[in-house]
């Protein structure tokens, strides 16, 4: 019984330790704006490069089909 109690206590202590460590790590990320720094210095430049090099349709070549759809008749 004592052994089981000891194991349970150890388990909860371990859980508490993980909880405290995880919170400390989250606090470091939060407080030192590491999320912002990652976005600004790594993610955004990477995505910008991707968007800049993306092949895009030349929309100016879209014909302006004035008569593609039937002429709208007002009902009122």
């Amino acid at each position: 019984m004592k052994k089981i109690k000891c194991r349970i206590a150890k388990f909860f202590l371990k859980l508490l330790g993980i909880f405290v460590l995880a919170n400390a790590a989250i606090f470091v990320v939060f407080f030192f704006d590491l999320d912002g720094k990652l976005m600004f210095n790594v993610v955004e430049p990477f995505l910008k490069k991707h968007y800049d090099n993306m092949e895009r349709k030349d929309t100016l070549k879209t014909p302006y089909d004035m008569d593609k759809f039937p002429k709208y008749e007002y009902k009122n």
């Binding site: 939060f30 704006d33 912002g36 759809f69």
Partner: protein, 541 residues
Amino acid sequence: MAKKSMKKALKDFWFGKPHSAEEGGRRLGELYEDKTGLYKHREWRGVKDTFYYMYMIWGYNYLHMVTDILKYSNNPLDFVKGTWRYRWMGQTYLPVIHWFDRGLQGMRGEALRASAWHYRAMVSASIQQICNFFNADTRLHKGKENEAFRHTILANETTCGTMFYPWMDAGYQYIPLEMIPYFVTCHVNSHTVLNYIDAVQSIGLPGDPCPMCQAESGLFVLDDVPDAAPFVITCNEACDASVATSTLQDWFINRPLFALPLPMQFDDPLVKKYCMNEIEECWKFIEEQTGEPFSWESMVKRLEKQNKLQRDEWEKWEVAGRTDYYPVNGVAQALFRIFSTQYGIQGDFWDEASEKVKKIMYKCVQKKINSFPQTRHRVIAWSCAPLYFSNWCTWAYNCWGLNVIINMDSLMFDMEVRTDTYEHMLEDVATYHMWAPMRRMAVGGMQHIFELWENMEKFNCDMVAMYDQLQCKGMQGVHGLFEDEFRKRNINAFWMPHALPDSRTVSRAEIRRQINDYMTTVMHEEPLDPSLLDFDDSMTW
């Protein structure tokens, strides 16, 4: 001496440093890294508020962004595909928490809590729109027009969501075409929009028209708009520069299109009648396109929720105008209001946020908590705000004690829509539609532009922040009239030049400099936090 400084350090640790320089100030400007606007470290607001911010704002919103995606997305993989496909998505929305940081900087206690709930609702509404876009977008589904596509109504962002309530019970959703790709991006990451402005100028548009219309057209030039609905409704937005945007949209969207006008001189009863006819035509067009009839029940159900939200706002304004206990800061007030009235009722997020804010507000009233204790001037902000620096109000409070109580954009749609008869409803929807953003009090006629004076009195303000959108030909035309009135009425007012989304024309630093100059040379006041007077954030989001 050492004991005294130890006591102060402990006090600062527990409660956060005091606001003003005289009290040994918090010097918020020193938290920034040079140029980028990133934080060397986030602000220490005292134990309670720092951990509230960390868990209930920063962590809570990161977590809820994920749960919102899972809630609103038909397939979360579409969200990833959309992020990869659209610049306005990937470049803008990932740093969204920094948008919170900028708007909530320096806030403590109830102001921090209440303002953050407004932000939360806006993020939720944005994610819903983004997911609706991606659920329906044929580009992300190999050209396939799926159920979501067939149940989407795409309309110009200044066509209010109210217009489309009748089809929502039948499973239709309304997406404001430019609200997410253009409007919200400017607030969150002002870099993105510059690509679209440059794109439309690269095909020959001169640089002087309103940059809003430029950016909205540029989205199409760069082929960066989802193909998300079988038809589209456009309008002339705030002014007739947007007629050209509609023409370009007609060209590039290449789908059946109904152009719903927003009349300018809306006080004329004949104009109103014309507008009511146009709205009915628009509804007939939607009936034709969807095959679904107009549903009165669907309309009334949502109008009642919209009216409730309006009544909530009146309650808040009552407290804001008559007391010092209103806990929402200027930017959170303005953006929540313009966003919710334009997007309309498409979920419970507005109501949930409003209820939470009301609860905080009544706590402040009962306990007489002044959330902005360093207020030196109660400010009303008038005309259209710089989208890239909407958080100037937060800066102005922190630096100078200028507390923006209310702004023009919040006041435009202050009406309930009657639901007793169809005729009353139509009449009120027409009014609501015509009181569109940047319309009623910006280009809607002199008597409306000058509603400033009565609102100044109603909200008990002693100073005006006058936005000066350099490329808005409408408001530029009345600059002198305002100057005359300010002098005649002996009102303290400063001008804030800007170019709506384009941070290159007038930088944030320049806007701050103009306000600093006014506060020192005209008002002869000292800053509360001198570290915020001048800093370089030229590269910031």
